[in-house]
Symmetry: C2
Subunit: 479 residues, 2 copies
């Protein structure tokens, strides 16, 4: 074989640098184990439990009937004659199709999405927040990730080799670290406070900002609320402090609010950044802010259908024109994903035929998740050497594990970080696939992992028992 055109030496160095642990080496190994099991291999377990990714349907959650009906009709309008499908689902599908060029869901939409759906998103936000939202500030996208990347891309400009800096929580959802690496931006990590249930401390935000200022040009602040992987839900006064902080330092706010429907703990409530800036009034309500939502999370869990939106406010109009141009070359987000978002922002209303079933299905999912959130936390806290904060929201727990010195040495000998070593041992011995804390970031010298709370209750219970057993044995072995 001759010299290749693209080699590890001459390829994009930022792609080499980026990491996305949620689909990293551990998950690749888990998939390989699944194939080995299918081929008849003998293991100490029969199936792999993938608690590594927030993929609700993969773990047995059922889709919301109304969503599937609306999207199916969009594809096959002959279903408008199907008497088993309720009228409100038909009505939504008719509205979507009326917004499609040529009346077909198979035509391209505008790059920012179908206007009728963008208008419904704005109305949804108005109902949620009690403040105006303009449909022209709404951009539909193929999942929140695309929206986040598309907006962050706007900030890439190196001035005399000073990089723009992006503040992200640690632990964080690795889309951020991956995107920052790929775009060659400077990552400014601010640690969430594990001892206050992963609280967002202003002093730590300040510290992180001040230290970074010397080496980069801080431009943006990312907040994930409810938190991934931490499960914390920000109190309103905390959000207000963060907004003031960002305003004083002229930072663009990225509000990752994809878990806005996933709030479980008593006394916790979701407050959107847009609502709080609106309540605070000028100058805060004039800040540049992007908020992201997805159909992959919440009670929908429609990860594969790739629907999402960004609400982007107060952009300089000339910058907005450039942003819209930048998404135009990607043509449009999937129209079917857009149709899913239509259902999310324009669900059946009281009095409509699907209302009760929709509410019942939604409630069942969210109640069950709330129960599982509790079960996970209680179990982990009952295991010696493990401690887990309350999962107030989102879909994950991020417990801390105390690892014996000898286990840390064994990991070093294996060339792995201690939590990675632990996670591989867990996988090989129990079939449980979680993501080690290094993939999200953690205070040096502490070890964590992220697990989803998504396995259905019976499976989750079994998984947690196996986990307890494994952890106990692991600690014993290295004691």
């Amino acid at each position: 074989m001759e010299q290749r055109v693209v080699t590890l030496e001459n390829m994009n160095p930022h792609v080499i640098k980026m990491e996305y642990a949620v689909r990293g080496p551990l998950v690749i190994r888990a998939t390989a184990i699944e194939k080995e099991l299918q081929a008849g291999a003998q293991k100490p377990f029969q199936t792999v439990t993938k608690a590594n990714i927030g993929d609700a349907h993969a773990m047995g959650q059922k889709p919301i009937t109304f969503i599937r009906q609306v999207v199916s009709i969009c594809l096959m309008p002959s279903l408008l004659d199907d008497p088993s499908i309720p009228d409100d689902a038909k009505q939504r599908a008719r509205e979507v199709l009326a917004g499609c060029k040529g009346g077909s869901i198979g035509s391209y939409s505008d790059s920012a999405g179908i206007e009728a759906i963008r208008r419904h998103v704005a109305q949804y936000i108005e109902r949620r927040d009690g403040f105006p939202s303009s449909w022209e500030n709404i951009v539909l996208c193929a999942g929140a990730s695309e929206g986040i990347r598309g907006m962050m891309k706007m900030m890439i400009k190196h001035d005399n080799s000073i990089k723009p800096g992006v503040m992200i929580p640690i632990p964080q959802y690795p889309l951020y670290s991956a995107t920052i690496a790929e775009f060659d931006l400077h990552q400014i990590g601010y640690y969430l406070n594990e001892s206050t249930n992963w609280g967002l401390d202003m002093a730590e935000l300040e510290r992180a900002y001040n230290e970074a200022k010397a080496v980069c040009n801080p431009k943006a602040l990312v907040v994930i609320n409810p938190g991934n992987p931490t499960g914390n839900v920000l109190p309103r006064e905390n959000i207000e402090s963060v907004i003031k902080f960002a305003h004083e330092r002229n930072l663009f706010l990225f509000a990752d609010e994809v878990y806005q429907d996933n709030v479980y703990a008593e006394g916790c409530k979701f407050h959107s950044f847009k609502k709080v800036t609106s309540e605070m009034g000028p100058p805060y309500s004039e800040m540049e802010l992007a908020s992201f939502m997805s159909c992959s999370k919440g009670y929908m869990g429609e990860c594969g259908l790739r629907g999402g939106y960004a609400e982007i406010v107060n952009l300089d109009p000339r910058v907005k024109a450039m942003y819209l141009k930048s998404i135009s070359a990607k043509l449009c987000p999937t129209t079917l994903g857009q149709a899913v978002m239509e259902c999310v922002v324009n669900p059946p209303q009281e009095g409509e035929p699907s209302y009760e079933q929709f509410q019942a299905e939604k409630k069942a999912v969210l109640d069950s998740l709330a129960g599982r959130a509790k079960m996970v936390v209680e179990t982990f806290n009952s295991v010696p050497g493990m401690s887990c904060n309350i999962v107030q929201g989102a879909m994950y727990a991020f417990p801390q594990i105390k690892l014996p010195e000898k286990a840390i040495e064994a990991a070093k000998a294996a060339g792995q970080a201690p939590d990675v070593y632990y996670a591989f041992q867990l996988l090989e011995n129990t079939g449980i696939c979680i993501v080690p804390g290094t993939g999200f970031g953690q205070c040096p010298g502490t070890y964590h992992f992220r697990t989803t709370i998504l396995p259905q209750p019976a499976l989750l219970k079994t998984m947690l028992e196996k986990f307890r057993e494994f952890h106990t044995k692991f600690v014993e072995r290295y004691q």
Copy 2:
């Protein structure tokens, strides 16, 4: 209003530079005119005809029944009990669902796509080319654009401010110029030869390469076959010459083959680059090559559903691992778009219940397109001052127009390129929206436009007559 965080001065300069004319200012104006008409404005026309974009369903093409049935079942498996849906559609949907985690199309797939569909893509390529294809070289993507961008991204590395160079045809599909600008690569344009029906001349390829070598590091060669916007179909011996050229100069081949089903002219045949390299044997069959396909074009025209694939062969395995990592942070392409690709690569076979209807629908679309390709060319060639090459394939004509000196002066006075001025005049006077040649590139001093051949025959006929009338008057006015 205070100083914004993101301004035209400090934002990503490459985004400012990129242009995507297919959705540019002319199209924005066309959409505005549509709204004016809806609001009751009086114009010399009643409707806007959008011949600017290859969006078949928007122009009245009907979807292929089988595709819509399969995808609908994936969304609503209760349709498996619908007696009006044929068994082969049900069978395909079952196979797709069996490949989905948790049996739901709403779960994430692997980032490279559902394995069963990747396997079927490889089998489709084997049937098409008569040479082996490995499913592990297949990556499903949300339309070809995403695949092209994802692979081109791998090449971004500036060595001492020498940029990697990418050779693209002129005229080209502006996804390429936009992506090259955004990624800060160096665009190397090679002119297609209008006098030989937009032929790809080896001497011109050589000239372009040699001139560029001094200012960049040429890394890749893009060929669009069948051609967009030119409509030419490359003869096999031409492809062989291009492959030899790329091999001698160590260039990575990008074969944009999304119009592989759209070949109309007698004596023309689609040859994939992969097939020709395979026939040529080593060292050519060992070259790095990426070929792209889409469900947006062909006879399907499912633009909004965002399905596509890339076959990427002979990558350095370490580079391939990095490539797969780079797409993992984007989670996965829409599973419904993947299901559409399943139908394209695994259509009903002879003897299956949907076979005849599928073939009839496919043939009707392609025959009609062939007829429209002829009608467009004949009409344009009958208009004094217009000349149009044969549309051998794809979905566009790219005629040359001779503009009077005074029209060129009027354009200058209006601050527009002459073909842009012409296109705006056409739009305002007739409601016909086409894309001026500057959006694709053209030999200096020549003027062109791209029109799709997608309006249904009656509308196309009317459009072409209005076009003739406009052009005649335009030339008279400035004579």
